[in-house]
Chain length 459, copies 2
């Protein structure tokens, strides 16, 4: 069976500032340690994401609930932010029609799914105005149950649903994804008798795409979550050893890490040549930034790009700017659809157009990918290649698990805990202080006590 | 009248690794030179973007054509890539309803507008399948007329339109935006008697948002392009002097440049706290990357983020990772709509939720912005603040012109030509070679002659 391929040759080209095989050999023991450290935490039950593909019961529960919602409603709002939104969005974006939410129900094969992942009132008000609330349900997704953005939306929507459809109507339209044991939202599930899927403590938000967090919206939109999990299981099975040249996620992590610390390539660009993987880029940014950005001495910056689009944007900088980037190009070998490029009679005299005639758009984007990879390399810029045989649920599952495992291993290589995010707590406390939360006065006072701005620096 | 405000105090905080006023004084002469160099090129007619707001005739032509299309059709496809797409997309995204394309015509107040800005056949095929072609027109946007991605789409759509609606039907449905004097597409306009708006040679793609490139889709979608240009004119009028503490675009450019070269803050993050400015981030990335990324010794990396969403993603890295980032937070003082947050009776006992009740979502996102700015600063991370009084066409115009002028001045400060993009030519030649363009065989041969990959590095 064809499968995901990782090719790191472009990162070992001496002419492109590449690594030497000796670099890889030198890091092999640390890579093995990183692998073992992860496996230890996994066996201890502290880190659960790699075992999600084999949790058939959890998948079945998400699928069943999605099916039930889809049988009664047209629209699903996923109330979640960060890891509670990005995974589901990436899967729906990759596997559904690019214009899914515009299509009539019959052409869509699933619910319309919206991800209002911000506390921006303009977006939320517009969304509620655009939808028929009677045909709309919502999933509130927060592990702690205390996420301000998500719970604000929940309380707004709860009030509207109760006002229009009564308590029963609200209960029919609201499902939760939250910690199975503790937290505010778990208590609300009990108090309000709401259906709730579990997000276990061992699954961090950015590693939750294969839990109910990602599976519920994906299944609701009509994606094949069984195949998604099977694909993830295939990658997981390929990553059971600590040898860097045998475990693809470990090789990917080692190459990106080495490129950073040995060659100053601290910006890690993920550039799929497929619009459908655009939202995957946002998911990867969270995965890489939150997992690895823990101290001033380390922490690569993930950057999302899309080919061929960004050849007309950030490629100039990647090609001729500072030697601080490593670009991973992602190929989809067989596009889902192809479109022949006709050459009209009157256009034949234009050399700038004639060569396109007789090709397909799929051939064009593939030529652009190959050309860009080659041009980067010849300009001294290292690359890595990932190739999916096609863009289906199985291949996407393979890719998601590869990147998740790579983030976990990279945490070990960078010497940081890939599974916490301590840096965002201070801002939350200031915000709660500003909003008058009892006990948080000191944060408000600290913030309001900042020195007055210099008016000369305000224009 | 309230206007756009730039506040750079957060970049001059000694505790946050900030600049000293002496840094600003030291660079003042070079800033003046950068300003003068730009004005010289502007007066010579080489660089035209800053004069677009006063070109009433061009604006009127774009508005008239948009009105004519809107009177006959429901959908507008903008065929363009990079600078031919990002500006229009940013304006439509900022000024139209967030769910514009989903709304019925009456609620929309303009055409549905789509930006298929890639050579991905799956997207293009899906888009053509999703739309009623009879109610659809398209604008082909490429200055040179030789952009492979755009012209491929043009030829595909031309064939379908001619087949279904005849030559006349195609002519009614196709308009062009291209160089007024030369190029393939200008010739096609003449040969096929198509309506064409001019994109003068002095307007580069990434500086074209206030030309027909941005105005046509914006006007078609129902945005107020007159107010947009008036806003841009206001900023332009504030930027007519070379004193760094008087010209806001020059101050912004100087601060970002100094932060890079004096403090190692080479990653420039633009983080608006408004979903509507999400696409502006992609436009900014192209503007900054293509204008400044010209040699290995210089070239900051622009990064887009959205608040509060990315507080749950890249903020961890910005807060605790390497000291290599400068974050510009953008505030919209008065949100377009606000939504009160109710506190249900049964939720009052939850301290994690109770403090939210009685506030609005607008207050929440503003508290988050203030809190994040303060937390970054207290963690030694410099910031810059931009504030729009509200998110309307005028304020957006002010912001676009500020960033364009800043890119132009920054080119002078970095010592690069902000108006070319030589680095992307090699890749185009390889692609044309692969597609068999006569005369490009050597590029194909060079690419195919690359050494065989080491199979040990492929997993």
């Amino acid at each position: 069976m064809e499968r995901l391929t990782l090719d790191v040759n472009g990162a070992f080209d001496p002419a492109a500032g590449g690594l030497a095989r000796a670099d890889l050999e030198a890091i092999a023991p640390r890579a093995r340690e990183a692998f073992e450290a992860f496996e230890t935490r996994r066996r201890a039950g502290e880190v659960g994401f790699a075992d999600l593909p084999s949790d058939a019961a959890a998948a079945e529960a998400a699928r069943a609930l999605a099916g039930e919602l889809a049988s009664r409603f047209e629209n699903l709002l996923v109330l979640g932010i960060g890891g509670s939104s990005l995974g589901g969005r990436a899967v729906v974006g990759a596997l559904c029609d690019p214009f899914h939410n515009l299509l009539p129900a019959a052409a869509r094969g699933g619910m319309r799914v919206f991800f209002p992942d911000n506390s921006d009132p303009a977006t939320f008000a517009a969304l509620l105005a655009a939808l028929d609330l009677e045909r709309t349900c919502f999933a509130t997704v927060t592990k702690s149950g205390g996420t301000a953005e998500t719970m604000s939306q929940h309380m707004v929507l709860r009030q509207r649903m109760v006002a229009r459809f009564g308590e029963e109507g609200y209960r029919a339209r609201c499902v939760l994804v939250t910690d199975p044991q503790k937290g505010v939202l778990r208590q609300i599930a009990v108090d309000e008798k709401l259906r709730a899927l579990p997000l276990p403590a061992s699954i961090g938000g950015r590693f939750s795409v294969l839990s109910a967090v990602g599976l519920l919206p994906a299944a609701a939109a009509g994606a094949d979550v069984t195949a998604l999990l099977a694909g993830a299981a295939r990658t997981e099975a390929r990553c059971r050893g600590g040898e860097v040249l045998e475990n693809p996620a470990l090789l990917y992590a080692a190459v990106l890490h080495l490129m950073d610390v040995r060659r100053g390539r601290r910006l890690h660009v993920l550039m799929p040549y497929a619009d459908a993987l655009r939202d995957l880029g946002d998911w990867f940014v969270q995965l890489w930034a939150e997992s690895l950005g823990k101290n001033p001495g380390a922490g690569p910056t993930p950057i999302r790009a899309v080919g061929a689009t960004d050849q007309h944007s950030s490629l100039q900088l990647m090609m001729e700017g500072p030697h601080d980037k490593l670009v991973t190009l992602v190929r989809v070998a067989a596009p889902r659809a192809d479109v022949p490029i006709p050459l009209p009679e009157g256009y034949r005299g234009h050399a700038d157009l004639a060569y396109l005639g007789g090709h397909t758009m799929g051939e064009l984007i593939e030529a652009e990918r190959r050309a860009t990879a080659a041009a980067l390399r010849r300009n001294g810029r290292p690359t890595v290649s990932l190739e999916l045989p096609r863009l289906d649920a199985g291949a996407l599952g393979e890719l998601l698990m590869l990147l998740e495992l790579a983030a976990a291993y990279a945490g070990g290589l960078y010497g940081v805990n890939a599974f916490d995010q301590p840096g965002v707590e201070a801002g939350k406390k200031y915000a709660q202080g500003l909003l008058g939360r009892p006990g948080y006065e000191k944060y408000r006072d600290e913030l309001l006590g900042a020195p007055a701005p210099d008016p000369a620096l305000v224009l």
